[in-house]
């Protein structure tokens, strides 16, 4: 079993690993922002601090043979699905050890062994593509499913509506997960979307639509697992809305000055990692010493990844000519 699949197995089976992986995503994203600030990375990036429970909850509810389409804000989902920090950071920093050898960058991650299709830098584009992967699973008579994860900003583009419509009329085994982080780029959702609950859009496409707390990883696992089971058993697609919050701005250059005073603090009170940590401790699943140990392990893992990537070579110039045609 590759290391990616081991990582995937851990979070499928063990809630402590879900805590660990959420922490890993948080520290990873913080470190990525530092590296950009230090001028060690060029280009742009879109981090997902605050949305870790969505990423880990989705990954914990799927098999590696299922297919996932994800957006350019995909570091968290990729780590949760199993991509290693070295491979991810290597890609973000444009190095040979990056997940696609450095030709992709932060927005373009992919790995078939964990079911991750190339992540989409075009808003909404992954939604009909997930329907197509589900079509493959249906035609080939497997019981695998597809899952599209996308932001609230994707739900006003045609691809969302066409993808859901097609999935419904063909009864495809696909789960649509709207990660509602309250902002589409710099605009709050109320400015761009006339309804309060995005999940209500499912009604137009004759599929179930439900809203859940995206800051609670246990709730995310339960909600996604239920929808996945519906799809797996041949009962068609579901639209899930997971309410969450984007701690950072839209992209590297955005400090989110448009955010109302106090909004971040209010959401941070329900930080997905802190609240899950408290719950595990309250249940007696996690001791203080174990928590410290996990924090230390994750911290060391991220630092080791940073060192490894910094030392690793940039791609050979000729590599830009590879893999244009199969």
């Amino acid at each position: 079993m590759t290391r990616e699949l081991d990582r995937r197995k851990e979070i499928s089976e063990d809630r402590l690993f879900r805590f660990e992986r959420m922490l890993e995503i948080r520290l990873f994203e913080d470190r990525v922002q530092d590296l950009f600030a230090e001028g060690l990375v060029h280009g742009t990036t879109h981090t997902c601090q605050g949305q870790e429970a969505v990423a880990v909850g989705i990954a914990a509810s799927l098999r590696p043979t299922d297919t996932v389409t994800c957006t350019y804000r995909g570091h968290g989902v990729a780590l949760a699905l199993g991509l290693t920090p070295e491979s991810l950071l290597g890609e973000i920093m444009g190095r040979q050890i990056g997940s696609v050898g450095g030709v992709g960058g932060s927005m373009h991650l992919a790995l078939p062994s964990i079911g991750l299709l190339p992540t989409f830098a075009i808003v909404g584009a992954g939604i009909p593509v997930a329907a197509g992967a589900a079509l493959r699973h249906q035609v080939m008579k497997t019981d695998d499913v597809a899952l599209a994860v996308f932001g609230d900003g994707s739900t006003n583009i045609g691809a969302f509506h066409e993808g859901l419509n097609l999935a419904s009329i063909w009864n495809l085994p696909v789960v649509f997960v709207c990660e509602n982080n309250q902002y589409g780029e710099y605009s709050r959702i109320e400015k761009t979307t006339p309804i309060k609950n995005i999940c209500e859009r499912a009604v137009s496409y004759g599929m179930p639509g439900k809203k859940f707390d995206g800051q609670d990883v246990d709730e995310v696992v339960a909600a996604v697992s239920d929808a996945v089971e519906v799809a797996r058993s041949g009962n068609g697609p579901t639209l899930l809305e997971l309410e969450t919050y984007r701690y950072a701005g839209h992209s590297r250059a955005d400090t989110a000055p448009y955010r109302p005073e106090g909004e971040f603090d209010k959401w941070y009170e329900r930080d997905p990692i802190n609240t899950f940590c408290e719950r595990l401790k309250g249940e007696g699943t996690l001791s203080e010493s174990k928590e410290s140990e996990i924090r230390k392990i994750v911290d060391q893992r991220i630092e080791a990844a940073v060192e490894t990537v910094k030392e690793s070579p940039v791609p050979e110039v000729d590599s830009m000519f590879n893999n244009i045609y199969a």
Partner: protein, 338 residues
């Protein structure tokens, strides 16, 4: 060898591939129950069933996106875009998603997707249903582009497109669907994408066509006093440099006949390549015979004036060969703003 119309040859190609490979699925608007608006999938629903032959909603972004996802995960979908213009609402899925998956996965994903689209003027469908639009795919590495020039090439190219591991757009000139000709079927007839076909050999001039203009050229040059080498490009991306260059090396003269507007048409790229690579063998400037840079007009006499038909092509080439200089077009260059 069987006589069939081009739309029948397309149905036959789909049938033969679907028989051989159960991962081939086809979908598009009215392609299943109705057998296709141009009868290019007649009888396939009955033969292969509703799982593999599907009608879609009028939703190109949706079903083309689904075709991309299905192709990347193990099917070989053939999606029909009824009129090439409808690709506009779904272009992202072809040029930005399908075309880039292989590159953006360091070769781990492949997208063996075929898109078929009817193209071209001449039938009075008006401005928004008559373009060829191959120009939309230039500058988008990762896609292959081919065009049928009759029943045989439609059969041979479509089968090759389905077998190819990359996204391939196959253009089907609408005026040719009813053209009837002998077609060799079977595995031996599968074309090689990227290879042009020399339709007739000659010594005095090389005349290159793509899609509908191949038969226009053949008709135009049926009876001439000179000897023309006629080449059907078959595939535009990638185009067959070797065949064209070998021919021009022999004839020293090149004529390119395009159905699309002149500016930035494919002829410009080929003219630039040949003028650069074979500067010393060219005996005259490269002649591009194209439509003008205007939206396609509806009225019959205007549409006829717009298209490079066989009469215009014949007189353009005859004048070019007798004078050695580029002839004036049959449309008014100045008014078209060129």
């Amino acid at each position: 060898m069987t006589k069939m119309r081009m739309n029948q040859a397309i149905s036959k190609a789909l049938e033969d591939e679907m028989k051989q490979d159960e991962t081939v699925v086809i979908f598009g608007e009215d392609i299943a129950a109705a057998g296709g608006p141009f009868k290019t999938s007649d009888g396939l629903l009955e033969e292969f069933g509703a799982e593999r032959v599907r009608d879609t909603p009028i939703s190109e972004m949706g079903f083309l996106g689904a075709a991309v996802g299905a192709a990347a995960t193990g099917l070989r979908p053939v999606a029909e875009i009824m009129f090439i213009e409808f690709l506009g609402v779904a272009l992202d899925q072809l040029v930005t998603e399908a075309a880039k998956f292989h590159y953006l996965s360091s070769g781990l994903y492949k997208v063996p997707l075929t898109i078929r689209a009817s193209v071209g003027a001449g039938l009075g469908f008006g401005t928004q249903h008559s373009q060829t639009l191959e120009s939309w795919l230039y500058g988008c590495p990762g896609v292959k582009l081919a065009a049928a020039s009759g029943p045989q090439s439609a059969y041979s190219l479509l089968r090759a497109a389905i077998r190819d591991e990359n996204p391939v757009l196959l253009l089907e000139p609408r005026v040719l669907y009813s053209q009837r000709d002998d077609v060799v079927t079977g595995d031996s007839a599968v074309a090689e994408l990227g290879e042009a076909k020399v339709v007739s050999f000659g010594e005095d001039v090389t005349v290159v066509g793509f899609g509908s203009t191949v038969s226009t050229i053949e008709t135009a040059l049926k009876e001439t006093t000179f000897s023309a080498e006629i080449i059907d490009l078959q595939t535009l991306i990638p185009w067959d440099r070797e065949t064209v260059m070998n021919s021009v090396s022999k004839t020293g003269k090149l004529v390119l006949v395009e159905e699309n507007p002149k500016s930035f048409g494919w002829g410009a790229e080929i003219a630039a390549t040949i003028s650069t690579e074979l500067f010393d063998v060219l005996k005259a400037p490269v002649l591009r015979i194209t439509a003008p840079d205007v939206p396609i007009p509806f009225a019959k006499d205007l549409e006829e004036r717009y298209l490079p038909n066989s009469t215009y092509v014949k007189s353009q080439i005859e004048e070019f060969l007798s004078t050695g200089i580029l002839p004036k077009t049959w449309w008014h260059e100045q008014k078209a703003g060129i």
